[in-house]
């Protein structure tokens, strides 16, 4: 966040280790919370936000060094910050979940795989934003300071596509596990929404692998899809719980 504010876009070990330190803190929190409640810490919106932020940082740490996308951290941090500060500023989000039956392995897998999938989609969206920022500067011939520190747009397009593929595979596992849990009738809205998100990303992947989509449109679609997911995730959960 500091790097973004100071317009310092260079690779920095300090930034990397700051993000790594934050990730270890998140991991410790999720572990302790899981120990306390005796299940995967995804029982309320507070935990979902923290878990989602953790998944995003996990993907950044996994793909950042591979694609030399160190700058991805600069773009990822604000989103992680917003998610975490949102979770911390509204204590009402951290309500104890109603007493539940015994831990169900399918349910745990469903929740965890789905949230990690959204983490991958979020990173894909961020790579999409980076692509669009650079693409616009290339088109208009106005190269600003950040341009010289961004990765090549072909690398960004590849990272974007692979992150969507990873997220899609995880979401498929999550949905499959959700169907295995049963009780579909009582979660009709959530299931319809999840299938809708799955279809949206299936369309993006189909178009990209079928060579029918330019990287620019792919980037726009990944950003748009992420916006849809972020704007509706909490609402769907609220409606589902109310039902």
């Amino acid at each position: 966040m500091h790097a973004l504010g100071a317009r310092v876009y260079r690779r920095s070990r300090l930034n990397f280790f700051a993000i790594l330190g934050g990730f270890l803190g998140q991991t410790a929190f999720l572990y302790l919370r899981g120990e306390k409640i005796g299940r995967c810490p995804l029982t309320n919106l507070f935990e979902v936000f923290i878990f989602l932020a953790w998944a995003m940082v996990l993907f950044y740490l996994l793909i950042g060094p591979t694609y030399r996308l160190s700058l991805l951290g600069v773009f990822t941090s604000p989103l992680v910050f917003v998610l975490q500060i949102g979770a911390l500023l509204f204590p009402g989000l951290d309500r104890a979940a109603p007493a539940r039956s015994a831990v169900n392995g399918w349910m745990e897998l469903h929740a965890a795989a789905s949230i990690v999938a959204y983490g991958a989609f979020a990173l894909a969206g961020i790579a999409g934003v980076m692509y669009l920022v650079q693409e616009r500067q290339l088109k208009t011939h106005h190269l600003r300071s950040i341009f010289f520190h961004l990765p090549p747009i072909r690398d960004l397009a590849t990272a974007n596509l692979r992150l969507i593929l990873t997220g899609f595979a995880l979401l498929t596992i999550g949905l499959g596990a959700g169907f295995a849990v049963g009780g579909l009738a009582s979660h009709a809205v959530k299931i319809a929404w999840s299938v809708g998100v799955w279809l949206l990303y299936a369309f993006i992947l189909g178009a990209e692998y079928g060579h029918r989509l330019s990287p620019r449109r792919g980037a726009w679609l990944s950003v748009g899809a992420l916006a849809v997911v972020l704007c509706t995730l909490w609402g769907i959960r609220f409606i589902d719980q109310a039902a």
Binding site: H141, L143, S145, F148, R154, S214, R217
Partner: protein
């Protein structure tokens, strides 16, 4: 101990003077040793490149050391031309070296080649035994300064020639250029230079199309590419990533009507168009096509000028950074040797004698 520097560069002397004083590679090591043995001098490093000839030395007294350097120079090539030499002592000489290795004193502001050249000069002198504690410390500090300047300022940012801007933009688009296909329309000198710069970055294939097929063949052979008849360029275009236009045609050769259907067949493959021709070879409207990035000669020149302006703005930042290092090094130099190391030094000198 004092550090002094005597030298000339492209700022102070034309090439005919610089070449007279240049020290050939084979003579750098023995000359540095000989210089370090001069009365009044203890250590020496000689930097000799096409743009500068500089003698760095350490001695007990700055005036004596500079006089010794002057005598050495006169004994080598005579007195004529030595008036072009600048003479720096103490902080000025330290500052000068830090500026040189940081590229602030170079003909192309911020260039990094000089750092490698100074490193080589220092290693040569060190291996020949011409350096000691002071110059070792000075040059190590200089290399750290250069690294810090490069990392923490924008002095090396962007490219400042049309050809290198084109190459940098290509790398921004495609990353490594090893899988890229280049097509040249018009076998002119400018397109040859730009394609040569791209070839040096390892592009996979080069196609040359020219109205005179013989010239296309000649350039293709020179670049290890493939010649095409001019009217066939569009037919061979599907796999091309970089298209360079440099024909003498009075009207655009690459038009929206020609390019649009081709781009529709490869929506996921960007195309970088470099228009070096005047009148232009590309219709400006092709830049509106998805995945097409068109740069004409003015765009490239503007980016080069902007980069140079950024570098010039950064000079102040670099100088502030250098100033801090100069003060620190001068303080170290003024503090003199550590009591323990001084006593060891005396013992060693005693053993030598």
């Amino acid at each position: 101990m004092e550090i002094v520097c005597l030298g000339l560069s492209h700022h102070t002397a034309p090439v005919e003077v610089r070449e007279k004083f240049a020290v050939p590679d084979s003579e750098v090591a023995p000359s540095a040793v000989e210089l370090a043995r001069q009365p009044g001098l203890d250590e020496a490093v000689i930097v000799s490149t096409c743009n500068r000839v500089e003698f760095y030395a350490a001695g007990e007294n700055a005036q004596d050391a500079l006089e010794a350097l002057g005598r050495f120079l006169t004994s080598r090539v005579g007195a004529a031309g030595t008036e072009a030499f600048f003479r720096h002592a103490s902080q000025r000489s330290i500052e000068h070296l830090f500026r040189v290795v940081s590229g602030l004193d170079s003909m192309i502001l911020g260039e990094t080649e000089i750092l490698g050249q100074v490193k080589k000069a220092y290693q040569t002198a060190q291996q020949a035994g011409a350096t000691g504690r002071h110059l070792n410390k000075l040059f190590q500090r200089a290399f750290n300064v250069a690294k810090e300047v490069r990392t923490n300022t924008n002095i090396t940012r962007g490219s400042i020639s049309v050809g290198s801007v084109a190459v940098e933009l290509a790398e921004r688009l495609f990353g490594r250029l090893g899988e890229c296909h280049v097509m040249i329309l018009g076998a002119g000198e400018t397109s040859e230079l730009t394609a040569g710069a791209l070839q040096a970055r390892g592009v996979k294939a080069i196609f040359v199309a020219n109205r005179s097929y013989d010239r296309a063949v000649a350039l293709a052979e020179k670049m290890g590419g493939k010649a095409l008849h001019f009217e066939d360029w569009a037919g061979n275009f599907h796999d091309v990533d970089i298209l360079i236009g440099s024909t003498a045609a009075p009207h655009p050769v690459v038009t929206l009507a020609k390019l649009a259907p081709i781009m529709r067949t490869r929506p996921d493959r960007p195309l970088f168009c470099i228009d070096l021709a005047v009148p232009r070879d590309f219709e400006p409207a092709v830049n509106k096509l998805d995945g097409v990035y068109l740069y004409d000669i003015d765009h490239l020149r503007q980016i080069a000028d902007d980069s140079m302006a950024v570098r010039q703005q950064e000079v102040v930042v670099c100088e502030r950074l250098i100033e801090r290092h100069v003060s620190e090094f001068s303080a170290w130099l003024a503090a003199g040797p550590h009591p323990l190391s001084a006593s060891l030094h005396q013992q060693t000198e005693g053993a030598k004698s």
